[in-house]
């Protein structure tokens, strides 16, 4: 028995005429194309993206805030030239916001408009068929991603914010790439979208969800990678300064702070230092600009003390 290629299998199940072409040739290809879109990935990220495409499986991205989880989805969308459809999760999200909703007003209008004047009611069965047609369907992000005919990347952001029960909504899409609408039947994907889910790990996601996804943990980048990120995102920075910034940030992250600086904050800091015209960080610069990296007063005090070996000057 020879196993079918996963994409082939899925395409058959979805009833697609042809197998959609693979998006990436290899993990190296991912690495390069993401870099072209200003997203510096590493081996793990590239391998998982490559695998997600080849296996036609969604990717669950976890990691601390501000390490580029959402940016990854955006960069992949740019790299493959697809439209990004984003579903922002929040507590209380339900199927009418995530999947689809019937357009009641339009349905009502249709019923009223369809009533011939003076005569009795229109043939009810025909009307019913009519008002539950696609015309009266408001598509929400998930259905939109499934029914799109152009290439799309679906981003389900901060999935850990929805309740455990709501997670179940996602399962059909994640494993089968289809949505069942009781009145309409099943809507199958017209192509195989790439799906990214992000989570800040505020709660344990359900086993069912995890099982259907590939898992990618994006932690804080290594000093070398962070330096490269800074160099590529901050114009006019010298690589010595970038290296120094990356090192300072690393040592901040090893401290016991309330909130460790994220990559985004690192970039802000780098930009500030460039604007100030610094080519390297001295004690004074660090003390004066640390508040860009750290957002709590206690953190700033502790960091100043540990990094510079003295309490923050009250000047």
């Amino acid at each position: 028995m020879t196993a079918l290629d996963p994409r082939e299998e899925l395409a058959k199940r979805l009833g697609l005429d042809e197998i959609p072409p693979v998006r990436f040739d290899s993990a190296k290809d991912v690495l390069k194309r993401l870099a072209d879109n200003d997203y510096l990935s590493d081996d793990a990220i590239a391998s998982v993206c490559f695998l997600a495409d080849r296996l036609a499986k969604p990717v669950l991205v976890e990691g601390p805030a501000g390490t580029g989880k959402t940016a990854l989805a955006r960069a992949v969308a740019d790299a493959v030239g697809a439209r990004l459809i984003r579903l922002q999760c929040y507590e209380g999200l339900d199927d009418s916001k995530a999947l689809y909703e019937w357009n009641y007003r339009k349905q009502l209008l249709r019923i009223q408009a369809g009533r011939p004047e003076g005569e009795g009611t229109e043939d009810w069965e025909q009307l019913e068929e009519d008002i539950f047609g696609e015309e009266f369907l408001l598509t929400r992000p998930l259905l939109e991603a499934i029914s799109a005919t152009d290439p799309v990347v679906l981003l389900i952001d901060e999935v850990d914010r929805v309740e455990l029960e709501t997670e179940a909504l996602l399962l059909e899409i994640l494993s089968e790439y289809q949505v069942s609408i009781p009145e309409l039947g099943t809507v199958r994907a017209k192509q195989i979208p790439m799906v990214f889910l992000t989570s800040n790990n505020t709660r344990e996601l359900s086993e069912a969800l995890k099982r259907r996804c590939l898992y990618l943990y994006i932690g804080y980048p290594s000093v070398e990678r962070e330096r490269d990120i800074i160099v590529s995102r901050v114009p006019g920075i010298t690589s010595t300064l970038a290296e120094q910034i990356a090192q300072v940030v690393r040592s901040l992250r090893t401290m016991d702070l309330k909130k460790a600086p994220s990559v985004a904050e690192t970039l802000d800091w780098a930009r500030t230092l460039v604007v100030l015209g610094r080519s390297e960080i001295g004690d004074e610069d660090a003390a004066e600009t640390l508040h860009i990296l750290l957002k709590y007063q206690t953190d700033i005090e502790r960091a100043t003390k540990e990094l510079l070996g003295r309490p923050k000057s009250s000047a």
Binding site: A3, D5, P6, S26, A27, D43, A44, S47, V48, F50, L51, R54, L55, K57, V59, L60, E62, G63, E163, N201, T202, R203, E204, E207, K210, R211, C213, L214, Y215, L216, Y217, G219, V223, Q244, Q247, V248, R250, S251, T254, K258, I281, G282, D283, A286, E306, L307, L308, G309, R310
Partner: protein, 475 residues
């Protein structure tokens, strides 16, 4: 490959990572579509399909190193008729690889290095961040210093220790730091940290080399068993060493955060209150007075009051610390939390937690500030309980839950179990959390059984997982 994968997954499961059948299938499918000669790609693919929790990664990494060591990779590549890797391996062997070769051939050129030259080699590799040179140097130092004996059923910690001791890492670190003489505080600190991180790199490399040789010696499966590390939430709190303790500390914070989120959610969604008659009648007007749509009052679940009484004598101190930390981290889920610590005297430490955001800090202060030793500093449960009863029994109501933490090793003092009986009569419930395995209860001076009849439950609580489960049910 499929067999290897099966064994590998068996090992991961044995280490406690839950892997379902469908994930197994996924990983096999992944192996079909990727280029198997790329080791890091294989590793990342396996991680993505099998491990679904960031905290499990270290366990996965260790298992992967054992099952798919670089050496077995090279020999596997040979089967694939890959001429390049074959050549690479030969080049490598000419350098300083393989305990087999170097031991067999008497070491060849590489062993002619003197100790100083080796140290110099290491220093240069570290200074320039040259990974290839570092690998060679690590390999050489293991050959030289580890003194590995084939067939010994060990995990390699000892070999690691032996190698590192001989390398004089402190000197190396100092030399690395010295490179940049600068009076800038920040620059100095950065240089120090850079040096330290390079030394860590070296340690990791040496550990890898040792592990590889052990695999060669004893086979993957046997070794996997001896290097298997439990997941942080499964570590035995009482017997954790310093590294593991640090791991536990790290795991505790997200754990308590998650627990708080979960409990808050559960509370919000729990059973509805009684029917709200007014609201229901109002709603029924639109259905002609028929109450189709019942409305409920919002629920008012009673939040329990918690009294934690913890033994902080040496034997169980760490366990008490974790529990205090966890309970206070989720104190918003309780109407009140009061904590008491004792050895042979008892002291209330609730006020230490007030106005502090991070319970960890407070817990660290408890040892220094609490007045818990009355006589000799050996646990005396009877005395401590009596003193608790005298001073605080009046505060205990039907809404209070009492948690007693300790191993009930009373050093042959009097038990005073009747105190617990009275506390139980006053309180909603009394729970006893015992960090010892059930098998040890009542052995030696442990007198759990004397207290047990008066407790709602005596619970074995050795790991964070058990602790989390218990606290979760409590709220």
């Amino acid at each position: 490959m499929l067999n290897l994968l099966g064994d590998f997954i068996g090992e991961l499961r044995a280490a406690g990572i839950p892997i379902s059948m469908s994930e197994h299938v996924d990983s096999a499918k992944a192996m079909e579509v990727i280029d198997l000669s790329d080791r890091s790609l294989v590793k990342n693919s396996l991680a993505a399909t099998l491990v679904k929790d960031g905290d499990h990664m270290p366990v996965f990494n260790t298992a992967f190193e054992v099952f798919f060591s670089t050496r077995s990779w090279d020999s596997a590549s040979e089967f694939m008729d890959d001429v390049d890797t074959d050549e690479m391996q030969r080049e490598g062997a000419a350098g300083a690889t393989g305990p087999g070769q170097s031991r067999g051939e008497g070491g060849g050129a590489s062993s002619s290095l003197s100790a100083q030259e080796l140290a110099e080699l290491l220093f240069r590799a570290l200074r320039d961040g040259d990974r290839e040179a570092l690998r060679l140097a690590a390999d050489e130092s293991v050959t030289r210093y580890a003194g590995m004996e084939p067939g010994r059923p060990v995990g390699g910690t000892y070999y690691l220790y032996r190698t590192l001791r001989n390398l004089d890492l402190e000197n190396l670190e100092q030399r690395l730091t010295r490179g940049s003489v600068d009076d800038d505080q920040l620059a100095q600190r950065l240089a120090r940290e850079e040096a330290r991180s390079r030394i860590e790199m070296l340690k990791a490399e040496i550990e890898r080399v040792i592990r590889e040789r052990l695999v060669e010696d004893r086979g993957s499966e046997a070794l996997a068993k001896s290097v298997r590390k439990p997941l942080p939430e499964d570590l035995d709190v009482m017997h954790a060493n310093r590294d593991e303790m640090a791991q536990l500390e790290r795991a505790l914070r997200p754990l308590s955060r998650k627990l708080a989120v979960r409990l808050a959610r559960r509370r919000r969604r729990r059973r509805r209150g009684p029917v709200d008659l007014r609201h229901t009648v109002r709603r029924s007007l639109s259905t002609g007075g028929v109450p189709i749509d019942l409305r409920f009052k919002p629920p008012h679940p009673a939040k329990p009051e918690i009294f934690v009484i913890a033994d902080i004598s040496g034997s169980v101190a760490s366990f008490a610390r974790f529990t205090l930390h966890l309970v206070h981290a989720i104190s918003s889920q309780f109407s009140k939390v009061r904590s008491f610590v004792f050895v042979d005297g008892l002291d209330e430490v609730t006020q230490l937690f007030e106005g502090v955001d991070d319970p960890a800090e407070t817990v660290a202060r408890i040892n220094a500030e609490a007045d818990v030793i009355a006589f000799d500093g050996h646990s005396d449960y009877g005395r401590a309980l009596l003193s608790f009863h005298d001073r605080f029994a009046k505060d205990i109501t039907r809404r209070s839950t009492i948690l007693i933490l300790g191993d009930a090793r009373n050093n042959y003092h009097q038990a005073h179990a009747e105190v617990i009986a009275d506390l139980k009569y006053r309180a909603k419930a009394v729970y006893w959390l015992n960090p010892e395995p059930t098998a040890y209860w009542n052995s030696g001076d442990s007198i759990v059984s004397q207290y047990a009849p008066y407790c709602e439950k005596v619970i074995e609580c050795r790991t964070l997982r058990q602790l989390e489960m218990f606290v979760g049910e409590l709220a």
